[in-house]
Subunit: 183 residues, 2 copies
């Protein structure tokens, strides 16, 4: 019989305290009494927004991602500030990156991006009641808004222009909504 | 006009060389000529398998995730060994964790899980032609197989028993396939 799925922390060593992430190395006790090590990245969490315009386009932002060594198109997103409510963060990031204000944001889901080594939790919102706001990215933030149809989004997934989990998830949400409305 | 979306690396500092992840801190040159820092987690990449049984159940494995401080149910998955082909890795992980052999594995997609700070790329396969193999997890790996219906999977997303991006993505793929077949 499988023993309880749990790992007790025996020791935690701080490896790195960064501006966005922290890294720690934990000694853990496995269910079989043996010890193992866990490398863990602590992350403040993030928000992302599914935003469909009146023209039935999804709003994406292209930006360079140093970790991937390429620019990709993603749904508008951003990291949570300390103590910030996800909905407030989502409103802010959406307007900053795209110039769109949403009358309301509906929480659709939340998910961990990389449960094997990181605790980053992303809250996904759907924007409702869009109106024009003012795009005002930080002076050190470089993003290009691009609005795409579902067919264009699918093609961008094939070419790798869309290449991250939350945006592929968002395109699927959009397609599911369309299919459900036809049944 | 937006300048080119690119960041040149000026300097790289190795922060940590771990057994699974490495961490580095890069000084980068922004498009406006200013400098910034990027914290980057290097990860070997991973595979995950969407596996639907003859009884129309999705095969999940529950395991404790130290980074999340809880056990969650995920599609079978594992890290790539150095130089390993994703398909070979997927065959191995599926059989080890679930006792299922697949006659073939079809690559559905690949995505970066956390493009803001990590280069982890996950290859998603769909298992076809299932037959019984032999479950043989490492002695220090603790996983519990659980087969769930689409309705059960959706409920598990609501309760947080399913709580990671790749598994929520997988459940969507499954639902999309069902809906498309009805149209």
């Amino acid at each position: 019989m499988q023993k309880k799925l749990y790992e007790e922390t025996l020791k935690t060593k701080d490896i790195y305290k960064g501006s966005i992430i922290d890294v720690e190395l934990q000694d853990v006790l496995l269910p079989n009494g043996r010890e193992s090590k866990r490398e863990i990245v602590n992350h403040p969490g993030a928000v992302a927004v599914i935003c469909i315009t009146e023209e039935d386009k999804m709003v994406l932002v292209k930006q360079y991602r140093k970790a991937l060594k390429k620019a990709i198109a993603e749904i508008p997103a951003g990291k949570l500030e300390k103590g910030e409510k996800p909905e407030i963060c989502a409103q802010r990031e959406l307007e900053e990156e795209t110039g769109i204000k949403a009358a309301s944001l509906k929480l659709l889901d939340s998910f961990y991006t990389s449960p094997g080594f990181a605790n980053e939790l992303v809250y996904i919102f759907e924007a409702e009641g869009l109106r024009s706001g003012e795009k005002h990215t930080d002076e050190d933030e470089f993003v290009e808004r691009v609005d795409v149809s579902l067919e264009e989004a699918r093609e961008m997934i094939k070419t790798g222009e869309i290449h991250d989990a939350k945006t592929i998830y968002a395109v699927q949400v959009w397609e599911l909504q369309k299919l459900r409305s036809k049944l």
